[in-house]
Symmetry: C2
Subunit: 134 residues, 2 copies
């Protein structure tokens, strides 16, 4: 599909304008932060190229670019954990996207079979990680 | 300061282990997602090199790596919007960090003088951005 967006502009237009001008990096990617629409909890961080972003907008289902596999990736296509996009926000310089989603299979949001990829917290005392879903 | 972390390991250890093994990219950076400790709201996305991450852990104040200025950046050092780190989580493959913070000056979290960098949402109908703080 056609995946064209307006080019990034000078800082003021990029920050205050109402034209969507995603600033793709040297690899053609923006960072996507994904949160659960109901709880607001961060679920994962992924990357989108123009095609992934355009396909997400067209279909309403989150698509990402897999950097490891170098391919467009419809989230949940294999696991069933499809993500319906409930809202999209963009940050000040438009190089990060925030997706608020509802997952069709929350327990498989992470490929490790968890509701979020952020299932470990850093313990400041021991300087190790601690498993925690809360 | 010394900024040493364990090296990334094979997938299972990286995903299930309790050793903190941040996976810095080719530029020596991990992605940091920053949320408000009280509301859970995403505030910003930034990047950390090993020094920024180690300094954040040592001091309890969020430090990032400025890609544009190529320098360590103590968030709020100029604006006063210092971020006290209330929690750190890491994602499955340890290339993204989630910081939960309390800002000393929330209204200057974004350099555009807003409480979050995500102050515009994408309107699916018009395909433009809409200013919105909620």
């Amino acid at each position: 599909m056609a995946a064209t967006f307006a080019d990034p502009a000078e800082a003021r237009e990029q920050e205050e304008g109402l034209v969507f001008r995603p600033r793709f990096d040297a690899h053609g990617l923006v960072t996507a932060v994904v949160t659960d629409h109901e709880t607001g909890r961060p679920l994962m961080v992924a990357h989108m190229n123009a095609e992934a972003l355009a396909t997400t907008i067209e279909t309403g289902f989150a698509h990402y670019w897999s950097r490891s596999r170098q391919t467009l990736w419809k989230k949940g296509e294999t696991s069933g954990a499809l993500q319906s996009v409930r809202g999209i926000r963009v940050d000040c310089d438009q190089d990060a996207i925030w997706l608020s989603v509802t997952s069709a299979k929350p327990e498989d949001t992470c490929h490790t079979s968890r509701i979020t990829c952020f299932y470990r917290k850093f313990d400041f005392e021991s300087r190790t990680l601690v498993h925690s879903s809360s």
